[in-house]
């Protein structure tokens, strides 16, 4: 077996960079911190590539195996139930290593220009490193609990990064929202883990996902409210996954999270953290597939609904980052659909492969879109589409790279998105027609909203800018170009030979009818966008007018945020928390204080017995004695 011990460095380098910058970052110039962070990540990136090469290409053999170069007991609950920490290498984790380090490196690099001169530059880099560490820890987890631990850490570092501009109330609110929503989902995750581990007595992925395993036998026949115990467990774990991946109804945090710096959005909210949920489902895919197919269907439907729902909202938004955020939601929905419709093994596992493939390509082009957006925001100092237009003349490199990404997401061949999306559609077509049509419509909407964005930014009205926009510096352009190349060409990677549900390569069949259908709807979307937004005109407003209330509802994201706000602020805060605080002060504490008050009051009431009159004293004396005598006589006789 090959030596993979260096993989530990991939995880630890970002961690030590985080500590270094966090503790001593203010001792030197900000730029130094930036370069330390970027260099560290560069090393990790190269090591990841080496890992990927060694894992996928250097080894010979039919199937890929699960390799565990590190594994130690971190905490033991009982003699058998222990949390392990370690590294698990299998196709998806190796792939994720590459994705995470690539996008992270690009973000680091891009930020060198984008964040230059910001207050807290070194803090920013230390947080980025922390996030990267957490994300890497998550993807290599050999153990469900390690995954949960890094879930939490990812959430926290995301909190820190979203709230980077901590003096901006909206950023703080967004950070809090992201953390609390994902935390709520993690609560589900945790309960799921508890249930699962109770029955299986293990957290180990290898044990859990072994096909044909008997460890679920303990749970046989145990049901609760119509679903089996394992279904509950896996469903709750999916809740956690849905929280991180911002699936409906946990999607509300993601658009707000755009308050963070744009490279952060590229890294966290496009390519890595938000796919953690997909990754989790993929990681536990055999369990879902063999033990709880009912939950897997749920995964598919949630994904399908979210993808359509988010695509519809994306059409109406004006903040370019929010459009991209909803686009991200939609695309992750695709991935969930891919998993939801997949079977296990060989060609049957097409959906699984496609989902992972889409995860990979999406990371590239969505990161590119975000970085491109960052480049644009950097130039025009605004997020809003209305402030943009005709930028193609000023920012040629950004323009071209953005176009590549837009084509990729729209599924136009030969760009990467085409391959992955097409395979998801193919898998859905074979299994679940409803999901297929949903995703098919979504594909059209996708190309429409992305080109609406594209045309509005780079074409549209020719407007005068106060400061003439200029192309970004070289340090920002390099990541754009790199990612554009990736977005253009990673589609040719033979994923079906690399990342499959049973880790055995298989051959894909091209369904030409589906290819034509999907490409044509993509083109249709682009054409429609071109028709509406190529030049400034009144058509979009007219159409919005025509949709009327529907448009307004969509623009307000179906008022989901408001519902949440109502539940938390009005119900939890005002109807639960406030009464509890009142109850505690006035009833419980009031009772305790009341005992004291009553004692003191009693003391005051009975002072008359001590009247000062010696005859009354004598009377009390004699009467007391007689009462005791009589009661005693009564008692014994």
């Amino acid at each position: 077996m090959a030596d993979y011990s260096y993989t530990l460095l991939i995880i630890l380098i970002p961690f030590f960079v985080f500590l270094l910058l966090g503790l001593f970052g203010n001792r030197w110039k900000p730029m130094v911190s930036g370069w330390i962070g970027t260099t560290g990540l560069g090393v990790a990136f190269i090591l990841s590539l080496i890992t990927a090469y060694q894992y996928f290409f250097a080894g010979a053999g039919e199937a890929y195996s699960k390799i565990v170069p590190y594994d130690f007991v971190w905490l033991s609950f009982t003699d058998t139930l222990q949390i392990h920490m370690g590294i698990l290498l299998d196709p998806i984790s190796v792939m994720m290593l590459v994705v995470v380090t690539t996008i992270s490196l690009m973000s680091h690099w891009f930020s060198l220009g984008y964040m230059k001169g910001e207050v807290g530059f070194e803090r920013y880099y230390s947080f980025l490193s922390l996030f990267t560490f957490s994300m890497l820890g998550l993807v290599v987890a050999p153990d469900l609990f390690q995954m949960f631990i890094f879930y939490e850490l990812v959430g926290a570092s995301s909190f820190l990064l979203i709230g980077f501009y901590y003096q901006k109330p909206s950023a703080v609110a967004a950070a809090k929202k992201a953390f609390i929503v994902t935390r709520f989902a993690d609560f589900g995750f945790l309960v799921g883990i508890l249930i699962l581990a109770y029955f299986t007595n293990t957290y180990d992925f290898a044990t859990l996902t072994k096909p044909g395993t008997t460890i679920f036998a303990n749970a046989a026949g145990i049901t609760f409210m119509g679903a089996s115990a394992i279904s509950w467990a896996m469903g709750l774990i999916f809740v956690g996954a849905a929280g991180k991946s911002a699936m409906f109804p946990f999607h509300i945090w993601l658009p707000d999270a755009m308050e963070g710096p744009t490279p952060v959005s590229a890294l966290i909210h496009a390519a890595t953290m938000v796919v953690a949920g997909v990754f989790t489902v993929a990681r536990l895919f055999p369990v879902y597939y063999f033990q709880t197919p009912d939950v897997l269907i749920l995964v598919g439907y949630v994904g399908g609904f979210t993808s359509l729902f988010a695509a519809v909202i994306a059409i109406t938004q004006h903040d370019i980052k929010r459009v991209l955020a909803f686009s991200t939601l939609s695309q992750i929905g695709y991935m969930m659909v891919g998993l939801g419709v997949s079977h296990y093994g060989g060609e049957e596992g097409l959906g699984y492969m496609a989902s992972m493939f889409h995860l990979f390509t999406h990371a590239m082009f969505k990161a590119l879109l975000f970085l491109g957006a960052g480049s644009i925001i950097h130039a025009v100092h605004s997020n809003m589409m209305q402030d943009m237009g005709g930028l193609r003349k000023y920012m040629p490199v950004t323009h071209i790279t953005f176009l590549v990404a837009a084509l990729a997401i729209s599924g136009i061949p030969p760009f990467s998105g085409f391959f992955s999306k097409d395979e998801i559609l193919a898998a859905a077509f074979q299994t679940n027609k409803l999901l297929f049509y949903t995703e098919y419509i979504t594909a059209g909407l996708t190309s429409f909203y992305i080109f609406r964005l594209y045309f509005n930014i780079f074409w549209g009205k020719d407007r005068k800018y106060e400061h003439t926009p200029h192309e970004s510096p070289m340090v920002m352009k390099i990541p754009l170009i790199f990612l554009a190349l990736a977005a253009a060409f990673v589609g040719f990677l033979p994923f079906h030979e690399l990342v499959t549900s049973d880790m055995k390569p298989f051959e894909t069949v091209t369904h030409w009818n589906l290819v034509i259908a999907s490409v044509s709807i993509g083109v249709l979307g682009i054409g429609f966008a071109w028709f509406l937004f190529k030049k400034e005109n009144s058509k979009p407003a007219a159409i919005a007018q025509w949709f009327g209330g529907l448009y307004t509802i969509t623009y307000h994201k179906f008022y989901i945020d408001e519902i949440y706000l109502f539940v938390t602020k009005k119900i939890l805060f005002n109807l639960v928390s406030r009464p509890i605080a009142w109850f505690d002060r006035h009833i419980i504490d009031g009772f305790m204080v009341g005992v004291g008050t009553v004692t003191v009051k009693t003391s005051d009431k009975i002072k008359g017995f001590q009247s000062g009159n010696l005859q009354q004293y004598a009377f009390a004396f004699v009467a007391g004695a007689l009462i005791i005598v009589l009661s005693l006589l009564y008692y014994i006789g």
């Binding site: 007991v73 971190w74 905490l75 033991s76 609950f77 009982t78 139930l81 949390i83 609990f145 631990i149 890094f150 939490e152 850490l153 926290a156 909190f159 709230g163 901590y166 003096q167 901006k168 109330p169 703080v172 609110a173 950070a175 809090k176 953390f179 609390i180 935390r183 709520f184 993690d186 609560f187 945790l190 309960v191 508890l194 249930i195 581990a197 109770y198 938390t568 939890l572 805060f573 639960v576 928390s577 406030r578 509890i580 605080a581 505690d584 419980i588 504490d589 009772f591 305790m592 204080v593 004291g596």
Partner: protein, 500 residues
């Protein structure tokens, strides 16, 4: 003489030393040296215990020393520690060490302040080293009383009232306790042998179940009052809010654990049958504590109230874990004692430091402090993360262990209780982030806050000590967990006897 007696002797000598000092400078140096020595001793004890346990893989009670005190009643001065007690001693030493540094600037009657503080700590140390019910009670009450003076004299707000409430409620608890302990004593002879207060001896016999039914609730509630058992927790918010910084630290950090430790070490350990029988009732109470405290914290404005309610919630979790009566949950509960001790001490230290600067504890009057006092701000955020159970800090480890352990019960009642309790992690996140968001983040709310100075060196010593300890457990918990689990083995044998 046992090595353990040093843990009482050093504070007593420190107190005597303080009596000979003249002013604040001398007083605090003597205190810091004394408590520094204490900390070194505590670390040595922990390391020594772990090495002993590691070599023999025998988790025995070490440094046992038994001398007769009142022979006619068979009262002994019997000391000895196992891994759990060592860990609690370490916790106490850390917190009091940090507390001394947090009180570096007590200008008003400094000698009296440090003497009371260290007397209090003496009681706590004494409690943890004792294995005789009488001496435990003795030290327990020693630890409670200085609190009145500390809050009453050096406190703030309605200090007399809070101090009185706190003292009386705790003493009322100890009233129940006295009866409970005497009940144990008079049922402690198996076959006509001598009565004994010796914890280990009593654990070897089975107390008659009828006696257990009477004395378990007395003992459990008696200790539970100090452990902020719902509904006997109301001394805690007022007491903590009025107490000076170091006292809040020590009280929430250590004293409340003393209650929980007593619940475990005396009530549950010696009377497992009744504990098992009545656990349902107390589980309801503690689960209520957990959720209730968390929700109670959400709407508070005073930082100390927030933290006090949060403590109610977290300590409720400790008792909840203990009542689950399996080694995993109890292991978690004990780790939670230590974890919460460190975390809440850090919180109170920080609140005191912030209050010392802004002169307000109302969160709504603060804002954007992170920019002005970054060190304290970052520490506060880290403490907050620890409080909401972020991995990497001790709280996560402890909470997860409790949850996992609690989930080993497979009946619906325990399940539902556990899930309700688990949901507190969300509520905790809400109130922690709310405070962080209002107080530290956002725009600066008051111009005059811009002039505030960041932490001084002694404040850094105080907070960093606590934070490092938390991270030390959070990053690599196995040393602590294994030590506790090892020490739990003999205890669990007794506790699980109810099964047979």
């Amino acid at each position: 003489m046992s090595f353990l007696n040093l843990f009482v002797a050093v504070p007593v000598l420190t107190v005597l030393g303080i009596m000979f000092t003249k002013d604040l400078k001398g007083t605090r140096i003597v205190s810091a040296i004394g408590m520094g020595i204490q900390l070194i001793l505590a670390v040595y004890l922990m390391v020594f215990y772990m090495s002993q346990a590691g070599v023999n893989n025998l988790h025995e009670i070490i440094f046992q020393s038994d001398s007769v005190w009142f022979p006619s009643l068979n009262i002994h001065y019997y000391v000895g520690v196992d891994g759990i007690a060592s860990a609690m001693i370490l916790l106490t030493a850390i917190v009091i060490f940090a507390g001394v540094f947090a009180s570096w600037k007590v200008e008003f009657l400094p000698r009296e302040f440090f003497i009371s503080l260290i007397v209090l700590a003496t009681g706590v140390f004494g409690f943890f080293i004792s294995l005789d019910l009488f001496t435990m009670l003795l030290y327990y009450e020693i630890a409670v009383i200085p609190m009145y003076l500390l809050i009453g004299i050096w406190g703030s707000g309605p200090k007399e009232k809070s101090a009185m409430k706190l003292t009386l409620m705790l003493m009322a608890g100890s009233a129940l306790l006295i009866a409970g302990l005497l009940g144990l004593y008079f049922n402690s002879s198996a076959e006509g042998g001598p009565l004994t207060f010796n914890l280990i001896e009593i654990s070897k016999i089975t107390i008659p179940i009828t006696a257990q039914r009477l004395f378990f609730p007395l003992t459990f509630i008696g200790f539970g009052v100090l452990g902020a058992l719902f509904p006997f927790h109301t001394w805690s918010p007022d007491g903590h809010a009025s107490a000076p910084t170091a006292v809040s630290m020590l009280h929430a950090g250590v004293l409340m654990k003393l209650g929980a430790y007593g619940c475990f070490r005396i009530a549950i350990f010696l009377m497992p049958e009744a504990a098992h029988e009545m656990s349902w009732f107390f589980i309801i109470l503690t689960a209520t504590s957990v959720i209730y405290g968390a929700f109670g914290a959400i709407q508070q404005k005073d930082l100390k109230y927030i933290n006090a309610y949060s403590s109610v919630s977290h300590v409720g979790l400790i008792l909840f874990g203990l009542l689950m009566m399996n080694s995993t949950a109890i292991d978690g509960a004990i780790m939670q004692m230590i974890s919460h001790g460190l975390m809440t001490a850090l919180f109170f230290a920080l609140i005191g430091m912030v209050y010392g600067r802004t002169h307000t504890r109302n969160v709504n009057e603060m804002g954007g402090l992170l920019k002005i006092i970054p060190f304290l701000g970052v520490m506060y955020i880290l403490a907050g993360f620890a409080s909401l159970g972020l991995p990497g800090f001790s709280g996560f480890v402890a909470e997860m262990t409790i949850f996992v352990g609690a989930f080993f019960h497979n009946d619906m009642f325990h399940r539902v209780a556990t899930i309700i309790v688990v949901s507190s992690i969300v509520v905790t996140a809400v109130y922690v982030l709310r405070v962080v968001g209002i107080m530290l983040l956002g725009p600066v709310r008051h111009e005059e806050h811009l002039k505030l100075k960041d932490a001084t060196w002694f404040e850094k010593v105080s907070t960093i000590t606590l934070l490092v300890s938390m991270a030390g457990i959070g990053l690599y918990p196995l040393w602590l967990s294994d030590t506790i689990l090892g020490s739990l083995q003999p205890i669990m044998e007794k506790i699980t006897m109810y099964l047979h």
